[in-house]
Amino acid sequence: MGDLVSTRPEHATALVTGASKGIGAAIARALADDGWAVGVNYRSDEAGARRVVEAIESAGGRALAIHGDVTNGAPAELFARLESELGPVLALVNNAGVRADGLAIQLEDDDWGRVIDTNLTAAFRMTRQAIKGMIRARFGRVVNLASVVGPRANAGQANYAAAKAGLIGMTKTVATEVARRGVTVNAVAPGFIETDMTADLPDTVMQAVPARRAGTPEEVAAAVRFLASDAAGYVTGTTLFVDGGMSA
């Protein structure tokens, strides 16, 4: 029965991991703008998360700063707390990510493991938890922050590329598993975006970007906002590149 066109229930809450700054913070604000209550997850930057919550509240939205290291594998508590304080978590944005760069020949096991654990395994565990409630609600949105790195090579980031390519594969498969419950799973793949995480990259990288400029966190957030919206109910399993044409 392909008759499930679902709309976002009232009090639906979006959980954005790693939302105290950069792209995550922009996503939290954009979703709040679109009417979502937002769980602003952070690991260490409590002050940053509080600033995001204040910005959302002063614009008339609802938000909660919620501490939790996504790699510690206790998503059930995070979800339960958000549900009791804001509402059922019907959107999950797996944004938390780390880098530990080095040529493959020199990459330590720890650098490999940390990047895979945070960028891929944690996203899977959060997704597994989130879709339980979403399939019951017959509505849900999962958006995974992938990267142009993964689909494309980037010397010095074998770990990051593996994790992000893995996220895209996971996105496609989980999308097909839950599609008939009104739950969509998509990825957004940013290129070079102006954040702390890319602040140390040389200016010459812009030569690889057809748009000849870095993107902004708000431009990435706009893509996430769309994928989380009712309007994107028939978009699932896809990856939306926000990369100034890099992957074209």
Binding site: R136, R180, R181
Partner: protein, 82 residues
């Protein structure tokens, strides 16, 4: 869960749940197979969630794979809860 759960209780939960997956209520019997009822793996995963919420009994993927009929599901939940 320390409390005893009766097969009738569990069967009632299953009967309430299955129509949410598009199953015709009149087709639900203890001997009906999930295949005949057109209940697929995602439906069974969701049914497992409902049972876990209601009775605190966790059914894993291996358990669910062994369940063929409505009666199998009921018996498994009752035996786990005992």
């Amino acid at each position: 869960m320390a409390t005893t759960i009766s097969p009738e209780q569990v069967e009632g939960t299953v009967r309430d749940a299955l129509p949410q997956f598009g199953v015709d209520e009149t087709q639900i019997t203890r001997d009906a197979s999930f295949e005949e009822l057109d209940v697929d793996s995602l439906d069974l995963a969701e049914l497992s969630q409902i049972i876990e919420d209601e009775y605190g009994v966790q059914l894993k993927g291996d358990d669910v794979a062994k369940i063929k009929t409505v009666g199998d599901a009921v018996d498994l939940v009752v035996s786990r809860a005992a």
